[in-house]
Symmetry: C2
Subunit: 218 residues, 2 copies
């Protein structure tokens, strides 16, 4: 079985990847970009550190235009985030059987409704996985910290593949920073995985107990 | 870190255990019983197969009485299932920092509301984990099948530590099968883990890639 993970390079989608590893023979990490050239690079680097194949998918121009319209009209980012996220999930669902993302229990956006999720799975004959949907923010941090080293960065200063960061940059480029300040909360941060902790086993006995072995059968 | 898993011996709480293994040094499996002697035995056997310490906690008499009252008054099991589940989670939360259960995305009961979960975590200074909250039934089956062999059994025929099975048995003993048939859906089944699949590694290179190593640091 292969899982495709919507991957920003942050601790959340990083943790999703680690949670799924023992259950899938193959994991592919996919980063969506609004076309801003450098934003996907930290995600590609994080994917390399975690150790799975990575690719970048670029949203069509129309998606960015629609998302910008939503931001300006609504005056808050929720609707545009939901829209971009749902396009990304639907795009992956056309080609992959298992699609996972890092949306969390405490997120207000992006989030898909229960009926939209059931509809997606039925229409596309696929599985949509939200492994962090039942975990709080503190729990996610504690679990991610066990295997990943990550930094927290001010989104205004560093590019990232987080949907919110992408939309903030696109909005700033087109309409100026004042519109970003009006529509988005101040001081948004994102996390970026910089290292996967790989532990040396202390002895054989411990390894036997601790090691999650993986089959080559399907 | 130690995680305590509310464990019925079925594929759901079994999968929760496997999902958490790489992130916790210690996992304890706890089965709640309504006092019907044999019901916890299949769970103890499943815990041994999966490979983690197991213990049984018995609900107080008052909990069973209250749950039976709810069943008779409501005419459906949702309220009583929620009640027993919340007592179990609250009991574990008094002593454990990380408490997990196998409640699923598609479950109608037992399920705690978002505000009850936040309240629990704040009051008890603990983490409540629902690792299956973002996974559908088909996905859970596919992931569990990768590492666990399990059977599906008619709950009327086999004892089990599933809350619903415990309540059905207690109700039948006290008020007769007719009340069970009135209140619960017909032909309820539960799953029971009978074996953990332990794969032999094919070669060293594969092991390096596939093996999720675990630290001894906290």
């Amino acid at each position: 079985m292969k899982a495709t993970v919507l991957f920003s390079g942050g601790k959340d989608s990083g943790l999703v990847t680690l949670l799924l590893e023992p259950f899938f023979e193959e994991i592919e990490l996919v980063t969506f970009s609004f076309g801003r050239e450098e934003s996907w690079r930290p995600a590609a680097q994080a994917a390399k550190e975690i150790g799975h194949p990575h690719r970048v998918a670029v949203f069509g121009e129309a998606v960015l235009e629609e998302a910008l319209k939503m931001l300006l009209a609504a005056g808050h980012p929720g609707q545009a985030l939901n829209y971009a996220h749902s396009i990304a999930v639907e795009t992956l669902a056309q080609e992959a059987e298992f699609v996972a993302d890092g949306t969390r229990r405490d997120d207000r956006a992006p989030v898909m409704s229960y009926s939209d999720i059931r509809s997606l799975e039925d229409r596309r004959k696929m599985h949509y996985l939200r492994p962090l949907a039942g975990l709080g923010g503190r729990t996610i941090r504690a679990m991610a910290t066990r295997h990943l080293e990550f930094v927290e960065e001010l989104s205004a200063m560093y590019p990232a593949s987080d949907f919110e960061v992408g939309l903030r940059h696109a909005l700033a480029n087109r309409w100026g920073q004042a519109e970003v300040d009006r529509i988005f909360p101040a001081n948004h941060t994102h996390t970026r995985v910089i290292r996967r902790k790989r532990f040396v086993q202390e002895d054989e006995g411990q390894e036997d107990q601790a090691c999650q072995s993986i089959s080559t059968e399907s």
